[in-house]
Amino acid sequence: MKLLKNNQFKPGQGLSENFVTQLSKTKKEQDWMRKQRQKAYDIFLKKSLPKWGPSLENLNFDRITYYIKATDKPVGSWNDLPKDIKDTYDKIGVPEAEKNFLAGVSAQYESEVVYESIKKELDKKGVIFCDMDTALKKHPDLVKKYFGKLVPAADNKFAALNTAVWSGGSFVYIPKGVKLKLPLQAYFRINAERFGQFERTLIIAEEDSEVHYIEGCTAPIYTTASLHAAVVEVFVHKNARVRYTTVQNWSKNIFNLVTKRAQVEENALMEWIDCNLGSAVTMKYPSVYLTGKKARGEMLSIAFASNSQHIDSGAKMIHFAPQTSSRIISKSISKDGGRTSYRGLVQIMPKAKKSATYVSCDALLIDEKSRSDTYPTMNIKTSDTKVQHEATVEKIGEEKIFYLSSRGIDKNSAEGLMVNGFIEPIIKEIPLEYSIELNRLINLEMSGSVG
């Protein structure tokens, strides 16, 4: 996006066909991509909003800025930031330089040095890790081969919108047999850019490769934009293994409507680890298409909704091939009028003999203002299978709080302790630096302080 710094393309709010064409021209894209964008725009106009799930009434497509340049800053200085965001940064202990970057005050973040050395290492192995715009220029054939193949524009209204106006996002290519030990963090890559609103991420793991990709961060990301509609496509080839970790904490004015999908071939494994804490409304159901024999899919998710947030998330596991297995573990917490919904789908197709799936959803309700829903669907089209689903909804055990209180721990800390214990099975799967911050953040949400 650096290329665009000096051009005259200054779109305002709202979306039109001309805008989509202009955007593609400004980015100097090839014809096929421009056509794909235009086609997606038509689909976007025709598709209606989902008739289920959270209310999207307050979403006004005409009041959204669809393209923000790298140099545009949402706020001019640290002092212009909302107070609660500043407080959170201080309380969870985000370093000063990082704070400015996350808040959008500074577009530059001092991780460049670290990133350069990692980049050398990756180049040596033949790994491609760059933003999508760069990938489209440098590796057009690879992008063309995979782009939109798993999440076509016609999938849903927001996938169409993303396909029409996407900017940024990550492109990851892992060659055959390469096993990356160090997680790839979007965090390193976006140092020169801003967090994209319409990110487009594409991950390709060739045979026998391994990668762990991490996006997001625990510190609240402040942006004045009101819609985040990303699309993520992951291709996991034979015997490969991909883990995709998301820690999402958008500021609480954002509609976070994301389409994520992975295709898993023979004997390969896809793991989604998804932590949703921020946003006003989240709708996100990462899916796994198990297309190869013995393919496996996993989903571990945490949702924390407070203060009239509505987090509607879940997972989809579609078993196409024999001997495939999947597991969904979802933990949600609702507090102060927050609402969490689990919405999931498990589908066993006729050919998926000897497949197994296990779904478990636990919800914790902190107070009487909050709400929790579970909407699982299981479609089973063959007999030789094992499908299990269970869900529980409960409040924090009073006896446990009483016990902790009797040991001299005040009520707020006791509740924080209980909530952290509740999500512990998932927290232990994410890298240490994230899990520490996440624990702090949950304590902060529970008690208003970090002690």
Partner: protein, 192 residues
């Protein structure tokens, strides 16, 4: 104990206004049934069995609607499906804000004998109160292969062995119905 046999009534909307024990039961049933729990101290048991053959196609919706606090509802549906039978189940538990200290359970277990059966199970929860205990569960699978093999080793034919296991699977509900409804006649156990 008040008994309600859903197969013998055309009523689909039930209001429970008085405390007490209720037992609702059914066999091979399609339709949409609402159970509105409008008083405290209600103990509602909903039990159903499905044995699907040939081209049987069942579509069932149940709604456990907890409006009053301190009541309990417990739903258990077991299904065994042969041939090209289809079963589409949608269950909803809703606990209203004022229905504190409710207990609501929902369980759907299915056994698929043939590869051509299709089962869709959608057990939903909507919880607006916090001091509640709600769980739901759903399992779908085959008869246990080891158990089948064991019975065959003891001299039963494959069909007899299947029947024996199916019998055991549904007996939890069938026995309960027979215990309360002495005159209950059904062909539940006689599919050879």
């Amino acid at each position: 104990m008040k008994l309600i046999n859903l197969n013998k009534t055309t009523q689909t909307n039930f209001d429970f206004d008085n405390p007490g024990d209720y037992f609702v039961y059914f066999y091979n049933l399609s339709g949409k049934y609402n159970f509105n729990i409008k008083a405290s101290g209600i103990n509602l048991d909903i039990s159903g069995v499905f044995i699907g053959n040939e081209k049987n196609n069942f579509t069932l919706q149940t709604f456990q609607n907890h409006i009053a606090p301190k009541s309990k509802s417990n739903l258990l549906i077991k299904g065994v499906f042969y041939d090209q039978a289809k079963f589409n189940y949608q269950g909803m538990i809703r606990i209203e804000k004022q229905a504190q200290q409710s207990h609501a359970y929902q369980k759907n277990q299915n056994i698929l004998i043939s590869d051509d059966c299709v089962v869709s199970s959608k057990p939903d929860l909507e919880i607006l109160a916090d001091d509640v205990f709600c769980t739901h569960g759903s399992t779908t699978g085959q008869l246990d292969k080891d158990q089948l093999l064991f019975l065959q080793m003891r001299g039963l034919s494959k069909k007899q062995a299947q029947l024996c296991l199916v019998d055991g699977f549904v007996s939890e509900i069938v026995d309960k119905i027979r215990m309360y409804d002495k005159g209950y006649k059904s062909s539940l156990r006689s599919r050879a």
